[in-house]
Amino acid sequence: MKDERKAQWLRGVLDLCVLSALTNGERYGYELSQQLANAGLGTVKGGTLYPLLARLEKAGHVATEWREGSQGPGRKYYSLTDSGHLHLKTQASNWKIFSSLVGRLLKQEGS
């Protein structure tokens, strides 16, 4: 699948993917981008990921903490807040409804 197309689809749900990636515990930015790539979602560039994380932080959905690195620069760790959990739960079920609608519409074409 073309990465461009994937990136376009991802734009609408990237915040939910990021919140979901945090349900197993805190992560720092680069770790998150690796996790999303490993999940098959393609490359999420830093220029997309960090502004999104800043928006989630501003909305109170994630909390952050700086840890000093022993060698390189420090890392900013993100973790899910209660409000983030709730937001993810609500929006994930909305997404499921929406994606099943799209799925039903495309059923004849995709097989």
Binding site: Y28, G29, Y30, S33, K45, G46, G47, Y50, P51, A54, R55, K58, W66, G69, G72, P73, G74, R75, K76
Partner: protein
């Protein structure tokens, strides 16, 4: 564009947009951390510095800090300085966009940078101008303060102030 010049431009742009120093430091450290680990080219990963700065500035708190002249060491001269050479002190107003240009001319004119602050370069020059040296300056950008200092010391650069992620170094460059 290499990482250091990208971080420098990003810092200058964030400063121009009125983002607070603390927040600039965080944004820069995160970009630096990501680039160090991923090995990506800065513009490829984060886009042009001006655009990334605009996007992050829109999300950041605006700067309410103002420069505080009591932090100016010229107001509290080091007693050791008084015993030997008498100095004139002068504070040059500057930003991360123009400060190296200002330092280049000030250094040639015998002004020695002794510290930096927000929008300010604290300089001194012997009252007796025959004692004045020329100074040259270099700026390094990044959060690896210790490593940068070691690298610069190896080339006889002396640290003379830090501001957020900018580290300033001076070196004597002949008689004025």
């Amino acid at each position: 564009m290499n990482m250091e010049s990208y971080l420098g431009e990003l810092t200058a742009q964030l400063q121009r947009l009125g983002v607070s120093e603390g927040r600039i430091g965080e944004i820069i450290a995160e970009v630096e951390s990501h680039l160090t680990e991923s090995g990506e080219m800065p513009v490829e990963a984060f886009g042009p510095a001006a655009e990334y700065a605009e996007e992050m500035a829109a999300l950041a708190e605006k700067n309410s800090e103002h420069t505080d002249d009591s932090a100016n060491p010229a107001n509290n001269p080091n007693p050791a300085d008084l015993s030997t050479i008498r100095y004139h002190h002068r504070t040059f107003r500057a930003t991360a966009i123009d400060e190296m240009g200002i330092l280049k001319y000030a250094g040639k004119d015998g002004w020695e940078l002794v510290d930096v602050g927000a929008l300010a370069l604290f300089c001194r020059r012997p009252v007796d101008l025959s004692l004045a040296h020329r100074w040259e300056y270099k700026r390094r950008t990044g959060t690896h303060n210790r490593i940068i200092k070691e690298e610069m010391a190896a080339a006889q650069w002396e640290p003379c102030g830090n501001w957020i992620v900018f580290h300033y170094f001076k070196r004597e460059n002949g008689i004025r």
